[in-house]
Subunit: 152 residues, 2 copies
DNA sequence: GTTGATGCAAAATGTTTGCACATCC
DNA sequence: GGATGTGCAAACATTTTGCATCAAC
């Protein structure tokens, strides 16, 4: 028997978006999206991270389902997929307040900072239009050394 | 017994760089760097690609050695490592004529184009310096649809 | 001769998939 | 009730590693 808790704004759109495609709102999908909302933008989780955080919170969702759900939420635009570091992709909540941001990663300790840049957006758009491509999204990854790693 | 063929400019620096670190110039390392030079900048090879191309050319280098060599050549600055597509990293020759370039990838067919942008370089540098990071390198990945995939 | 590199096979990661069972609509 | 999703285990893909042997210096 399904338990129908009230949906928040995000999950309302999640439900509608899913149903438009003949897909279903399952507890697992809500739980994964909830997690990203709870921790907010600017946190970059791997599939394993999601799995562990949910376990810590007392909820067990299989890793296979987490992979399937992350892919789905990216397709639907709720999450962004990042390729920052070694060892797997990371995911973060897509936010309309924070639409086009980029990442600065310390190559030694992995510390990650975000920044926005209008110029980068324009440069990507220009380059795309120049040869007839239609821009979807552009992401700048800056590899760098953070202050404490510079000090060794 | 080692065969000492004349080294080209790249391999001269390779030899010197290796010896500075107490490392050795092996035939395998020369062969891998040679391959990248021969095909030139702008080609993006995976470790498997390198392995196959060498086999096609009649040279067998073990995949383990290719992985070790690619990592080494990236560390030494001869190659750049790209994270463009699904299914593994890609490598390309680093070139002083073509120092800071970025990639435009069609998300449907995988077609990849390169472009340069002074603004992107500046934006990355600014962002890094702003919070005390020391820039190493910045790469913009633009996900887009190419003209023929737009036409479906 | 010594130290560092290679090749092999096995292990470690990260991700996907087939299938039986469960569940959303 | 029927289509879709989940969990499990197995498969798969990519990358790393331990160890015996080999070769650069």
């Amino acid at each position: 028997m399904a338990v129908h808790l009230p949906l928040n704004r995000f999950e309302g759109t999640l439900e509608v978006g899913l149903h438009q495609d003949g897909r279903r709102l399952t507890p697992q999908r809500r739980i994964v999206l909830d997690l990203f909302q709870r921790i907010g933008t600017g946190t970059h989780l791997s599939a394993e991270d999601v799995h562990h955080q949910l376990l810590d919170a007392g909820t067990r969702v299989s890793l296979a389902t987490i992979y399937r759900t992350l892919r789905l939420l990216v397709e639907m635009g709720f999450l962004h997929e990042l390729e920052l570091s070694e060892g797997g992709h990371r995911f973060e909540l897509a936010s309309h307040d924070h639409p086009d941001h980029h990442h600065l990663v310390c190559v030694r300790c992995g510390r990650t900072e975000e920044f926005e840049s209008e110029e980068v957006l324009k440069a990507g758009l220009n380059a795309a239009e120049c040869i007839g491509f239609k821009l979807i999204e552009s992401t700048l990854n800056v590899r760098a050394l953070c202050p404490s790693c510079q000090a060794n």
